[in-house]
């Protein structure tokens, strides 16, 4: 597997870019955009390498796994990296119109650090390295949340920081126990050595609880709505689309390689919490009067769908995981587009009260279109990416007679339609209090629309994406029952 070390480049590029942006703020916007573009190109390079040579593994500094740090990429990591690069590019373009010069100089360094942390997280091959990247990601994300310095943003950021630190510490405790029990932190070696001892389950309990807190799975979602709703729009998009997925990715990895094969019925708990998240998140979303809070609660609900794959995959194996990965990808694009569109509406009207949206369709057609297209994917209507994911998941649920899961998925879809049409309905009508619109830069409208179109286009790319996902057989360890 010689050739270009794309994994290293993917971590070093944003890290170096972030530092230069910090030291030389005047060039931060140009340099930030260039770095985002270069990261996207590098992901494409890594993708090509994966297709040609299979799984990517790189021992940093030539030190191999037990002692050194390995980077590892298979189809699953590649797709997470790709969606990170895409959303990052979209949000980067958006931020050129959104932020004032001064805010932009603060946004770019932190966002590039966050990007480096995310890339490192998706490439990590040992559980301690995952802890470090998890913390780097958390700290950068908290700093981004508090960017505006308003009261609500500071409160949201503080709550988020306490939650994320608690989650990381629980995770680190789990790492300590696993190392004690099995003498390694390398995921591959752990997968071989782990056995169903109490220490393994204590470790999984701690790590799972910490990661569920960071992923905002019901009932540990309390920190997400205030943080995501009070952050600036581009930051909300990044947090909802990527940061939440990153801790979910760790949980998924641990499950697929280490804990899933032990098979003790935990997946039913995940499924149950997922179902409750769908109902609770959707109902809360429907109740909200502020657009950004509605979108944030919708994230809580959509996270629930991801967890439904755990019980379903026990018997159908890869197809439920494929569905889940598809949902994660399309949710990332759609939710980023939705938060960006909400940012446009906030700029346009000076508020995000849903009932007071004033003739947005006529005056901001691109933004309304972006919101509607993203909504199509969130609701799971064909031909969007959300549809493919939900359809495959529903198929798996019906095939195994999990009627409860199937029913909750359908109810969740209806509730999603209800809260999205609640917003869309108000965009067509004139509000009681009409207001003078503020011009929204074209870059902000187009960035939202392009991301939303990406979410819908995903619906047509099912077979290439599934073949990419299968590189390295990330889903085979927990495969189909005999």
């Amino acid at each position: 597997m010689t050739g270009t070390p794309w994994g290293i480049i993917l971590i070093m590029l944003p890290l170096a870019g972030g530092m230069i942006c910090f030291l030389w703020p005047r060039v931060s916007t140009v340099l930030g955009l260039l770095t985002s573009l270069a990261v996207a190109v590098s992901v494409a390079g890594l993708g090509w390498q994966l297709q040609e040579y299979g799984v990517y593994r790189h021992a940093i500094g030539g030190w191999g796994a037990p002692l050194g740090i390995d980077l590892y990429a298979d189809g699953l990591s590649l797709l997470m990296l790709a969606v990170t690069a895409l959303v990052g590019l979209g949000v980067g373009i958006y931020s050129t119109g959104y932020f004032s010069c001064e805010d932009s100089q603060r946004f770019w360094p932190i966002w590039l650090f966050l990007l480096a942390a995310l890339n490192a997280l998706f490439l990590a091959a040992d559980i301690f390295n995952l802890y470090v990247t998890l913390e780097l990601m958390g700290l950068a994300a908290v700093a981004l949340t508090s960017l505006t310095g308003s009261k609500d943003a500071l409160r949201g950021a503080m709550r988020y920081l306490l939650a994320t630190l608690l989650g990381s510490l629980a995770y680190l405790f789990g790492v300590a126990l696993l190392y004690h029990g099995f003498g390694t932190v390398d995921i591959g070696m752990l997968a071989e050595r782990v056995e169903s001892y109490p220490i393994a389950w204590a470790a999984f309990g701690l790590m799972g609880a910490g990661l569920m807190l960071k992923t905002a799975l019901f009932p540990m979602h309390f920190w997400l709505p205030p943080a995501h709703a009070s952050a600036p729009a581009p930051v909300s998009a990044l947090l909802s689309a990527l940061v939440v997925k990153a801790s979910f990715y760790i949980l998924l990895r641990l499950w697929l390689t280490i804990f899933g094969p032990l098979n003790e019925g935990i997946e039913l708990l995940f499924g149950l919490l997922g179902m409750m998240a769908i109902l609770w998140g959707s109902l809360q979303a429907l109740r909200q009067t502020r657009l950004k809070l509605l979108i944030a609660y919708s994230t809580v609900a959509q996270i629930g769908y991801l967890f439904l794959a755990f019980p379903l995959a026990m018997t159908t194996g890869a197809s439920a995981w494929h569905a889940m990965a598809y949902l994660a990808l399309s949710h990332a694009l759609a939710k980023a587009a939705m938060f960006l569109a909400a940012g446009n509406l906030l700029r346009f009207g000076g508020h995000d009260r849903i009932a007071d949206l004033d003739r947005v369709v006529q005056r901001l057609p691109l933004t309304a279109g972006a919101f509607a297209l993203a909504g199509v994917s969130i609701m799971g209507l064909p031909p969007s990416g959300g549809f493919i994911g939900k359809w495959l998941l529903l198929e798996a649920a019906l095939a195994q007679g999990h009627w409860g899961i199937a029913a909750i998925m359908l109810v969740g879809g209806l509730l999603a339609a209800a809260y999205i049409f609640k917003v869309l309905g108000h965009t067509f009508t004139q509000a009681d209090i009409s207001h003078e619109p503020v011009a929204v830069p074209a870059s902000m409208e187009w960035a939202a629309l392009l991301l939303a179109m990406g979410a819908v286009l995903l619906g047509f790319l099912a077979s290439p994406i599934f073949s990419l996902l299968d590189i390295g057989n990330a889903f085979s360890l927990n495969g189909v029952s005999p």
Binding site: D152, L161, L166, A176
Partner: protein
């Protein structure tokens, strides 16, 4: 072996105490301190477990992890303290509990 086990138990105790304090206290400084106590608990467990081999020389890997962990904890605490000071400057008090009432 026995003393290592004792240290590990103390670590678990510190972690639990910190978690308890994090949940019941409302003042942010106490919450930040509680997080730090929890972190020390985890570090103590890691250091105690480094002696698990029973050899004269302890396992260096957990020590490396603790050093990394301390670096992370210092940066996280710094960020938390700055955030708390900003919050005090903006709202006048260092608590999160009453935000529901005010933001409505």
């Amino acid at each position: 072996m026995n003393s290592a086990f004792l240290y590990a138990l103390v670590g678990v105790g510190l972690f639990s105490l910190g978690l308890y304090a994090l949940i019941i206290h409302t003042h942010l400084l106490r919450k930040i301190l509680a997080i730090n106590v929890m972190g020390s608990g985890v570090f103590l467990v890691l250091i105690a477990l480094a002696k698990r081999t029973g050899l004269a020389v302890p396992d260096p890997v957990p020590h490396a992890m603790v050093i990394t962990g301390i670096v992370v904890a210092v940066s996280a605490t710094a960020l938390a303290l700055v955030l708390m000071l900003k919050l005090v400057a903006a709202t006048g008090h260092a608590e999160l509990s009453d935000d529901q009432r005010e933001s409505q």
